[in-house]
């Protein structure tokens, strides 16, 4: 289990290896499934054509909130390990923003864990996106579909 909040880019392959090693350490021979999610900046977002995004956060809270989420995912889905990494600061088109990974005994748990982490992250981790193009920028509005996605996990048994 690990989480990072960082300005610099991350390496998907390194994070995957780190997750797999952690799962093997925590529950030797019991990982049958690993699911990863990587989020990237698209050229064309809510406001149309953009150059990239700036991510503001609440430094004292972000890391705590992310650690708590990772812990919750491991407990709720009986995972062998889970992890989340989120970038902050200025991020250009096609760059990576976020990575989550879940390792578990079976595929459904690993898939559910990774979906859960992404849905809840969009609800409870203090990060805010501003899209920029040239010298103008605009805050991204929270989506109702993200509320619905998170609510799904709160009402599920």
């Amino acid at each position: 289990m690990f989480s990072f909040i960082q300005e610099h880019d991350f390496n998907q392959a390194e994070l995957y290896t780190k997750l797999q090693q952690d799962a093997q350490h925590r529950a030797p021979g019991n990982t049958g499934a690993i699911v990863t999610f990587t989020g990237l900046v698209r050229d064309f977002n809510m406001a149309g054509d953009i150059d990239g995004i700036t991510l503001e956060h609440y430094p004292e809270m972000t890391k705590k909130a992310l650690d708590l989420l990772v812990e919750k995912a491991v407990t709720r889905f009986s995972l062998t390990s889970a992890a989340a990494v989120h970038r902050v600061g200025r991020i250009y088109n096609n760059e990576q923003i976020v990575w989550v990974g879940c390792a578990g005994a079976h595929r459904q748990e690993a898939f559910d864990g990774a979906c859960f982490l992404m849905d809840m992250l969009k609800q409870s981790v203090p990060l805010w996106k501003k899209e920029f193009k040239g010298n103008t920028s605009k805050w991204v509005e929270a989506k109702r579909s993200d509320d619905a996605a998170a609510l799904k996990w709160m009402t599920k048994p």
Binding site: Y58, E60, Q123, V125, P126, A142
Partner: protein, 82 residues
């Protein structure tokens, strides 16, 4: 006793106050502090209108939460990470 108020994103820009210290009474809730801030000036009134989330000591909280000495109370819009 004193608390620290922090703001982020649109709430920070609208309030024009990233951070301030505030004197509060024993037993004051988040709702009390919110209405005092709203009455401070039109920037705060605008900043705290609509859906604004609150966190006490870096944990999401609701308006009924009671504040204590040296607490950090943060106001911010719905999050948009991921």
């Amino acid at each position: 006793m004193q608390i620290t108020v922090k703001t982020f994103a649109q709430t920070r820009e609208l309030s024009k106050t990233p951070s301030l210290h505030l004197e509060i009474e024993e037993g004051e809730t988040v709702a009390n502090v919110t209405s005092r801030l709203k009455n401070m000036d039109s920037n705060w009134a605008l900043a705290l209108e609509g859906s604004v989330l609150t966190a006490r000591n870096q944990q999401l909280c609701d308006s009924k939460t009671v504040l204590g000495a040296n607490d950090e109370l943060a106001y911010f819009p719905p999050v948009t990470g991921g």
